[in-house]
């Protein structure tokens, strides 16, 4: 009894302190902030994160941030949710931006707005690229803070362009040019076998993400911001899919069937595909392994430019104490400051998440030496949210199955999208208000 009294007294005191806590860190007692971070492998990234945690503690001696490396994104969310259900979740975690609805449905996280008190706070929350905030907000609240984000871009082999008589410094600007260039770049041997495909858009694993490039360019979104409705069977969506299917079925500039995501960079290195669609996260990989001159460009435009974003956000978990949460937000603000966001982008290849990060001297110097790095940033103004709904994995699978059915010729694009939409609508029915 005494114990509980004491606890609630502390909690009340802490609540009172909350507003001043940020201004007066020295008065708060020591707070520990556990931080789940998804990293599948060891190596440099864990060292960078450890360094950040140590630097932060140096500046804020009362707050101890403890990074816990929890595996892949998938494993990290499993771990975080299991911990949430059974007692002690982390205070903060980096998880996929598309996990937002699942986390809300499990009642696991609290909106970031809760901590936005001062003008400086508001300015901070407003500083991120709007494209990244689309996956971080729903129902008028902000639930996630962009941290390690990516997007889809086009890589092209300049040598192959030269051989095909194309300007090696000019990527296809629109859908027609993509087909036109693709035809010139597709090489066949004497027996008619293709030795080099013009373009390759992978479709294994998560085809929906690459499909969103085409839908966005065709001027349509495939879900609403509330995450309870999908628009898979809209005519523009079907058109976009028809274009993707036609790349191989009609124009013969892309390999038929489902194309493996994992082998796509290798296909590019092996000169089996002259242009590939893949994540900005592959920039370093391709820079190190391509034995030829290559270019990075924004995706060709349809009615307009467009690409989905991807990657991870910070989330604050509900089951931690107010002091911990306040300390956590302080850490998030610190790690997403322009200088650190810039350095993080340079070190890892992720897209620095706020515009002013690109104005820092370090980033300017980096872009000067490696202009390809800025392509993703320039494309962000055209970017949309990655597909994310309630029951996200299932609704996504409904689309993935339809896309693969169309790409392998099992269904027409129209039929495939109709089926996917019916399935998604069925899954989402309980979430409709």
């Amino acid at each position: 009894m005494m114990n509980r009294l004491l606890k609630s007294a502390t909690a009340a005191a802490a609540g009172a302190l909350l507003s001043t806590a940020l201004a007066l860190p020295a008065t708060a007692q020591n707070v520990e902030v556990s931080f789940f971070y998804p990293v599948a492998v060891g190596g440099p990234i864990t060292k960078i994160i450890d360094q950040y945690a140590a630097d932060f503690q140096k500046e804020n001696p009362t707050i101890k941030v403890t990074p816990i490396y929890a595996g892949t994104y998938q494993e990290t969310i499993v771990k975080a949710l299991t911990a949430h259900k059974s007692g002690t979740p982390p205070v903060i975690s980096v998880l996929l931006s598309t996990d937002m609805f699942s986390l809300i449905d499990e009642d696991a996280i609290i909106p970031i707005d809760t901590f936005i008190k001062t003008d400086a706070d508001k300015k901070w929350l407003g500083s991120f690229f709007p494209a990244f905030m689309k996956n971080s907000q729903t129902g008028g609240k902000t639930w996630g803070v962009p941290f390690q984000r990516s997007t889809v871009v086009l890589y092209w082999n300049k040598e192959a362009f030269k051989e095909a008589g194309l300007d090696p410094n000019k990527a296809p600007a629109n859908w027609n040019e993509l087909i036109e260039f693709g035809k010139k770049l597709t090489k066949r041997d004497a027996s008619g076998n293709v030795t080099q495909w013009g373009v390759q858009v992978p479709s294994s694993g998560f085809p929906y993400w690459l499909f969103q490039t085409f839908t966005t360019q065709n001027g349509v979104e495939i879900m609403n911001q509330a995450g309870d409705t999908t628009y898979y069977d809209k005519p523009e969506v079907v058109q976009a899919l028809q274009y993707w299917v036609d790349l191989s079925a009609k124009h013969k500039v892309m390999a038929p069937g489902v194309i493996e995501w994992g082998t796509t960079p290798k296909d590019f290195f092996e000169k089996k595909a002259a242009m590939i669609y893949t994540t900005t996260g592959n920039l370093t990989n391709i820079k190190n392994n391509a034995k030829f001159d290559f270019g990075v460009a924004m995706l060709p435009q349809g009615k307009k430019r467009g690409s989905p974003t991807g990657g991870g956000n910070f989330y604050v978990f509900k089951k931690s104490t107010p002091e911990q949460q306040a300390a956590a937000v302080k850490f998030i603000q610190w790690i997403t400051s322009p200088e650190r966001a810039a350095q993080w982008g340079i070190d890892t290849g992720y897209v620095a998440v706020r515009a002013d990060a690109w104005e820092t001297p370090a980033m300017k110097k980096y872009v000067e030496g490696f202009p390809a790095a800025a392509v993703a940033r320039d494309q962000l103004q055209y970017s949309v949210a990655e597909l994310s709904t309630h029951e996200n994995q299932r609704v996504t699978k409904a689309l993935n199955d339809g896309l693969q059915a169309a790409l392998t010729g099992a269904k027409t694009p129209e039929q495939a999208m109709k089926d996917s939409q019916a399935e998604a609508a069925r899954i989402l029915r309980p979430y409709k208000k």
Partner: protein, 280 residues
Amino acid sequence: MNAAERPHPFEPRGFARVVDTVAAWTLAILWALPLLYAVWTAFHPSEYSARFELLAPLTLENFAKAWEAAPFARYFLNTVMLVTLILICQFVLCTLAAYAFARYRFWGSEIAFFLVLLQLMVMPEILIVENYRTMSVLGILDSIPSIALPYVASAFGIFLLRQTFKTVPRELDDAARVEGASALQVLMKVYVPLAKPIYLAYGLVSVSFHWNNFLWPLVVTNSVSARPLTVGLQVFSSTDQGIDWSIITAATLMTSAPLLLAFLLFQRQFVQSFMRAGIR
């Protein structure tokens, strides 16, 4: 071995033997291809992972990179602890149960035996969802015991040892008891030594199974401290950046080397254990 040296009347001879030999070798090469490919790719720079030129430069860099890229030392330790834990528990539990079934006529032994054999069909893999919940209730998710527990009582092991114990002559048992040995002493002094080859065969099967087991460990573990090699290998090879076969094959060779070596060294014993085990 003498009998085996005598020419067998139905062994192929002459032309038929040549055909058989060629066919056998073709199949063998097909079977060894993945391993041969792994060796080729692991020792060459990544440009050669899809090109096979005799004079391609050799390198050990892939091994260094793979070793650097993931905490394989820890994964090794986890796997060794895991298979050891499972093996010891299986030996103890299966020996006791097999002894009961082989030499005791007790109430309900038939039903109990049926309940044991059920596990031959209902393997732990199939019940991953419910077993995951059990581990969560026990509070041991993401630990080495949580990977091991569903496997420690093995119907296969109990069945195998029961068959073996049944072949032990009753007289040996009785003689030991007359000398005043307790049931457990009889088990340890008479039955277990006679079943040594079976323990070896079963042990090898168990170790190679659990060294390579994947789905259940994938489900219950999510940190470096509990993850066995297989899961570590998968986590390491499924990055967004795509597949780098040079490093994956290097990691594959590294992780399966102990088992491969053990097999090459013990293959004769292995096959003979099976023969003596009477699993026919």
